[in-house]
Symmetry: C2
Subunit: 191 residues, 2 copies
């Protein structure tokens, strides 16, 4: 049951069988089909979501009405808008399904209860955020001073599997460039 989530927890902390069962009991599975929305702009996010299977992506809409991909979510990743979840303010993100999904969701109340009652759960969360923060900072650092072409090449090295599962125009948006520019770059890199 929930092999992805269990694997993710055990990667980082040691849990007794009782603790493991207590944690899992708070998660609710949810199935989603392609093009469905997990969250929409304006929602106050009630539950955080772990991707057991499938793929999703989140995007925001800027002041000019243009959309920008913020994050992808594949098996073993958390997805959603933590800002809205923790502050209980309206989300600015939409989270849409790319490939039919099974996600495991957890309410804020459950999250807070688990933090209080299961110390390894708090440790897991600290490590999760610590790693996420460091990874995000590296993402920013590594893109500093790089041309769009260099950003593309690195992205290709780091996440080769994404290219077979995500349309190029979403990758372009994630990279902060237009699909036209990405197309130009791909032609140069290929030759």
């Amino acid at each position: 049951m929930y092999p992805g989530l269990l694997h993710e927890l055990h990667k980082r902390v040691t849990l007794s069988p009782g603790q493991e069962a207590a944690i899992l009991s708070h998660f609710t599975p949810k199935k989603l089909k392609k093009r469905q929305f997990l969250h929409q702009e304006g929602d106050i996010i009630q539950r955080m979501s772990f991707v057991e299977k499938g793929a999703l992506y989140s995007y925001s809409t800027d002041a000019h009405g243009a959309q920008h991909v913020v994050q992808f979510g594949f098996e073993g990743w958390w997805i959603g808008d933590l800002y809205s979840f923790f502050t209980q303010k309206p989300s600015r993100l939409n989270v849409e399904v790319l490939e039919s999904c099974e996600v495991l969701t957890l309410s804020l109340e459950s999250h807070e209860l688990l933090l209080k009652t299961i110390p390894p759960y708090e440790t897991y969360m600290r490590i999760l955020y610590q790693n996420a923060y460091v990874a995000l900072l590296s993402r920013i650092e590594n893109s500093l001073g790089l041309s769009a072409e260099e950003i593309y090449s690195r992205f290709l090295e780091q996440y080769p599997f994404i290219f077979s599962r995500v349309p190029l125009h979403l990758i372009a948006s994630y990279m902060g460039i237009t699909p036209v520019t990405l197309s130009r770059i791909r032609r140069q890199v290929a030759s």
Copy 2:
């Protein structure tokens, strides 16, 4: 003693006097003068640093030899290279003093000991990383699809105090634009 650090801890968690003393006992103060380096590229970061007083900034050097500002650090902020600190791999960052500083430093061993023995310390760290992660993601989200001019205007609103303490060319570097472009923008915004 260490009023900045105490204020920062108490903002987020409740500590008994004993716990407070135990935490503080692991920090070592360090004074730094303008232009000194707290860390340099290639160092393996041994201690994380809390800024009690003063200002610093960190920058990396890219493959073309150009420098890029990654982060500023003022009173009440943590500064350094968490990637190197946690992984004990060489840092790619330089951390240089802008205004003479007093920083409080903590070794990895102390950090791990405090995590294990003082639960509110772990809670503090989880909240710190959670907030840092959400803030960093917002920084990325908010800059998506914005022109350099819009990025500048928002930066001006969010951190007005930085402009009186940091040279413009470092701010330009942090924003990912050249000083020349920042100058052009400032002329437009002013008129």
